[in-house]
């Protein structure tokens, strides 16, 4: 299926007329993946003579992965592909001139008079040693102005890394030739703007794809396709970190897909300039339900000397039913809220992974100023050699003028291979997993609440 899809691109590209570019590029299409990887396909009109010839390709990405280059033109065969990266510099020029003869021009600093001599470069180690007639001198040892003129530049020294292909063609003539390669330096992610209305329990979300080009090359008038996925590179998969998905969805978004990846084509051809960051809208949803919750996670059974802020978590869904109604490519969600004057202000951001449609998300946008939790180990008691009892007290405070409910989470309950059980607790908890327990604690307006629990740990 994937092969077929790529054939699709090929067909379309070949049938399109090539557009003359001074950069040397032809009709360019770029497929950009998330993990700083792009597939560039460039159809150029090349005049290929019959027989053996060398074609070089200016205007390719400065971060081309030369080993991935593919070349295709009618009635031609490839003899070899070269990627030359021995760059021309004054030092290289001098090193390659060892044993050669150069012209030196000495300038008299007082009069400006010039004196020309031919000199043989003997060595260029730390300084340039010259033989002039029967004398041996070090170049500019007297610090006086001296020009060095080289007769030629070695042909393998390049101005820039250069890709060249040696071809064998059965006929001469101009024909479309397709060059394709992978390059680093181009990638994309999503950026979401979420305007949250706390009172209404709703938010407006705009999604933008943000693509960046740091390849050193501008791709002009390129057909651009974004693939929401991170294919393995060099056999290494790219599994992301935190994705903030609370429950993964099972709905399929109404978008084109390629294999397991969703596709986000740009509507029009566009120029992706070097050092450019480009954003194009792909999602605009108004009035999606969203609500704010408070969470505090205690990593292990420990004491904090000062009360700690609970996290403010924004919960919403990507479902078509009561949510954003789309699969969400990985990126950053920036959350805004209107201040008293009605101006949107930033209240925090978080990242999401590639999120299937129908997922439930919980984004920590920040830490609440007014809702705090102070966990304290009030007692640790040894019952016998393998059994301990830990008494925890959690003091919750709420300085807000409205009652809140805090999800108080105690993690770290897995102890090597042994479990931890709750012997007693002041309110009913829910065991989320063997490692984690949660209390949903109501805290009154401008008030406080206390939860106590006794854990029995074996090890």
């Amino acid at each position: 299926m994937r092969t077929l899809a790529f054939t699709g691109i090929l067909l379309a590209v070949v049938s399109a007329p090539a557009i003359g570019q001074s950069s040397g590029q032809g009709d360019v299409s770029v497929t950009i993946y998330n993990n700083n990887l792009a597939l560039v396909q460039d159809v150029r009109r090349l005049n290929i003579p019959a027989g053996r010839s060398v074609q070089s390709f200016p205007g390719v990405s400065g971060q081309i992965r030369a080993e991935t280059v593919g070349f295709n033109a009618a009635n031609t065969g490839i003899i070899e592909q070269n990627f030359d990266y021995d760059l021309l510099s004054p030092q290289k020029l001098m090193e390659k001139a060892v044993g050669e003869t150069v012209t030196i021009v000495r300038i008299n600093p007082a009069t400006g008079a010039e004196r020309r001599e031919r000199a043989k470069v003997l060595a260029a180690n730390g300084g340039v040693v010259l033989q002039i007639g029967s004398r041996i001198e070090v170049l500019r040892d007297d610090r006086l102005p001296t020009r060095v003129i080289f007769d030629k530049v070695p042909s393998n020294l390049r101005a820039r890394p250069t890709l060249s292909v040696t071809l064998n063609s059965s006929r001469s003539g101009t024909r479309p030739a397709q060059l394709s390669y992978l390059t680093g330096g181009m990638g994309w992610k999503a950026d979401y703007v979420a305007l949250f209305d706390e009172n209404a329990g709703k938010m407006d979300v705009q999604g933008w794809v943000t693509l960046t080009n740091s390849t050193g090359t501008t791709f002009s008038n390129a057909k651009t396709l974004l693939v929401a996925g991170t294919p393995s590179v060099n056999g290494r998969s790219n599994r992301g970190g935190r994705n903030n998905i609370r429950r993964a969805g099972t709905e399929t978004a109404n978008r084109e897909s390629l294999g397991d990846f969703y596709l986000y084509p740009l509507a029009a051809r566009t120029t992706i300039a070097n050092a450019q960051t480009k954003q194009v809208s792909f999602l605009d949803v108004t009035g999606a339900p969203a609500q704010k919750t408070y969470e505090y996670s205690n990593g292990w059974l420990n004491t904090r000397n000062e009360p700690q802020s609970a996290a403010t978590v924004l919960q919403f869904s990507s479902s078509a039913d009561g949510g954003l109604g789309d699969a969400l490519p990985a990126g950053t969600v920036r959350v805004y809220m209107k201040d008293a004057s009605g101006q949107p202000q930033f209240i925090g951001e978080n990242n999401i992974g590639h999120t299937p449609m129908g997922s439930e998300l919980g984004l920590k946008t920040g830490e609440a100023f007014d809702v705090k939790v102070k966990p304290t180990v009030t007692e640790r008691k040894r019952l016998n050699a393998r059994k301990w009892r830990t008494s925890m007290t959690y003091e919750l405070t709420n300085a807000r003028p409205a009652a809140v409910t805090v999800s108080l989470i105690q993690n770290g309950l897995d102890f090597y291979w042994d479990d931890t059980r709750i012997v007693s607790e002041s309110m009913a908890s829910e065991r989320r997993s063997s490692n984690s327990v949660v209390w949903k604690v109501p805290v009154p307006a401008n008030g406080r609440a206390t939860v106590t629990a006794v854990f029995e740990t074996r090890f």
Binding site: L139, R147, V148, T215, T397
Partner: protein
């Protein structure tokens, strides 16, 4: 499904070709600056309250909201925004107020610089100008640039190949024009379609790095030491090169989550003027450096740019605004927003302070605290001086206290003495605030082991803790006694409380006197 995908590709491809032409009929409209601007400053999320703001390198950020009025012709328009903050996080930009919406947003960062000029003329003709040192006579001739800016300049002239500026002559490149697509500063632009020529007010908002703020508290302790006047500042700073004139300025307290992964700031690249080895009497290890540079170049990574020289100290003007203006606090979700009620200028490379509040005669207590290890025989040490007050109405406070530093003074006769300096975290209404402002060297503790033995099959050790006070005032002491999980304190000579899950001794050590605590630590 397979056919559908194939079809989809064909459709995209064809649609693309059809619209390719539109690229050329574009008009550029430039907005040079905002007509009004608002700046909301957020703290560096990774700076603790005890760390200073580093004015040269601020790691907080700001939300900047600008109103810009533009005249738009009909057709496809590139609307460029100039005068945005240099620290802009381009992907956070939001543009509203365009009737037909935004086709795409671009941030172009190909900057005009010596290296961009050189790279832009690679393989093209330029003029070389040499000036004779002796006579000042100038000589110009044509040359062709043969290599890019990364490893030195090699040019081709009528005479052969030469390296520029390896000769010791006064020579320079003269370019015919600026290559296309280079700009003086990174430029943010949007592409939009305009149906009717119009004058529009566009709102541009974006996050920008290079700002920070904190609260600063000044506590003036009364003569009797029972109350203090608490004055606080909002101290905000801008290390960006852009000034925001007459800006509605706010600061946000609390801890909004902020992710890494901003798009890197840009530089114009640099020219490396390396020549061939030029050692004369001593060897300079140029070669290794060059190789490292060439490798970095090949991997597509720029060499680390030389550190930007920070602007001189004189630029860091401290502007203290009239203290009659105080910020107004409002709720922003779970954060606190402090609004400066009048427009102020948030100047480039400067710090600004505006009063947050002033509270008179706030009752507080001063005490001395430490935490020691109960079995630490032979240990001795001093105590922290701590101020404690309740953040509620009853105690003349009762307002959100954002994190920051506190400096405490005491009036003594006609002079003002510095008691010490400390810091506090974000404190909500109703919370107790404790600020450690220093160390009292006149108060010391010492632990001695008095004996050890075994009873009830358990080992034990007896200790004596002595606190000595060399001052003329009785010293209230609060001391936490840490101990191992398998240890228990028994036979304690005074009643102990518990704090933070630990045994806690609260006592007052008499002036020029001492207090002792004896206890037994039993090992279970």
């Amino acid at each position: 499904m397979m056919i559908r995908t194939l079809l989809a590709f064909l459709i995209i491809a064809l649609a693309g070709t059809a619209q390719a032409q539109s690229d050329f009929a574009r008009q550029v409209v430039t907005s040079e600056g905002p007509s009004s601007v608002s700046v909301t400053v957020y703290r560096d999320p990774y700076r603790d309250p005890d760390e200073e703001m580093e004015l040269a390198y601020l790691e907080g950020y700001a939300l900047i909201t600008e109103q810009r009025t533009v005249t738009l012709p009909a057709g496809e328009v590139d609307l460029r925004f100039e005068g945005v903050a240099g620290g802009i996080i381009p992907q956070s930009a939001i543009v509203t107020g365009l009737a037909e919406g935004v086709l795409e947003k671009n941030r172009d960062a190909a900057l005009l610089s010596p290296s961009a000029l050189l790279n832009g003329h690679l393989g093209r003709a330029v003029t070389i100008r040499r000036t004779k040192a002796a006579t000042g006579a100038m000589e110009e001739f044509n040359a062709n640039i043969r290599t890019d800016a990364s490893g030195g300049m090699v040019m081709q002239t009528a005479e052969g190949f030469e390296a520029l500026q390896c000769t010791g002559l006064n020579e320079t490149l003269v370019y015919p024009k600026v290559p296309q697509g280079l700009s003086a500063k990174p430029t943010l632009s949007v592409r939009t379609i305009v149906n009717q020529p119009t004058r529009a007010t566009v709102t541009l908002s974006y996050l920008a790095n290079g700002f920070d703020w904190q609260a600063n508290y000044v506590a003036d302790v009364s003569e009797d030491g029972g109350t203090m006047n608490l004055f606080s500042w909002v101290t905000l700073a801008n290390s960006d090169e852009t000034s925001f004139r007459d800006a509605q300025t706010n600061a946000v307290a609390g801890q909004p989550n902020k992710e890494e992964g901003d798009i890197n700031p840009v530089s114009g690249g640099s020219i490396s003027l390396k020549c061939w080895p030029q050692g004369t009497t001593s060897d300079i290890d140029l070669k290794r450096f060059n190789r490292a540079r060439d490798e970095a170049r090949f991997l597509g990574r720029a060499m680390p740019a030389p550190m930007m020289a920070m602007d001189s100290e004189a630029d860091n003007l401290l502007i203290v605004t009239a203290s009659k203006v105080t910020t107004e606090q409002e709720e922003l979700g779970d954060l606190k927003l402090y609004r400066i009620p009048v427009p102020v200028t948030v100047a480039s490379k400067s710090q600004k302070q505006v009063a947050m509040f002033e509270k008179q005669a706030v009752p507080f207590e001063q005490f001395y605290e430490t935490e020691i290890w109960a079995t630490g025989a032979g240990n001795s040490g001093t105590f922290f001086t701590t101020l404690r007050f309740q953040n509620d109405k009853k105690n003349r406070l009762g307002l959100a206290l954002p994190a920051g530093k506190m400096v405490a003074f005491k009036e003594s006769g006609s002079t003002r003495l510095l008691l010490g300096e400390g810091n506090l975290d974000d404190k909500a209404i109703g919370e107790q605030v404790e600020v450690q402002i220093g160390t009292n060297q006149q108060l010391r503790f010492e632990i001695e082991q008095l004996g050890q033995g075994e009873g009830d099959d358990r080992k034990y050790r007896d200790f004596e803790l002595t606190i000595s006070n060399a001052t003329k005032l009785a010293a209230p002491i609060e001391l936490k006694l840490g101990h191992g999980e398998r240890e228990r304190l028994t036979k304690i000579s005074s009643r102990l409380g518990r704090k933070d899950g630990k045994p806690f001794w609260k006592t007052t050590v008499p002036a020029n006197g001492a207090s002792t605590l004896r206890y037994r630590v039993r090992f279970r």
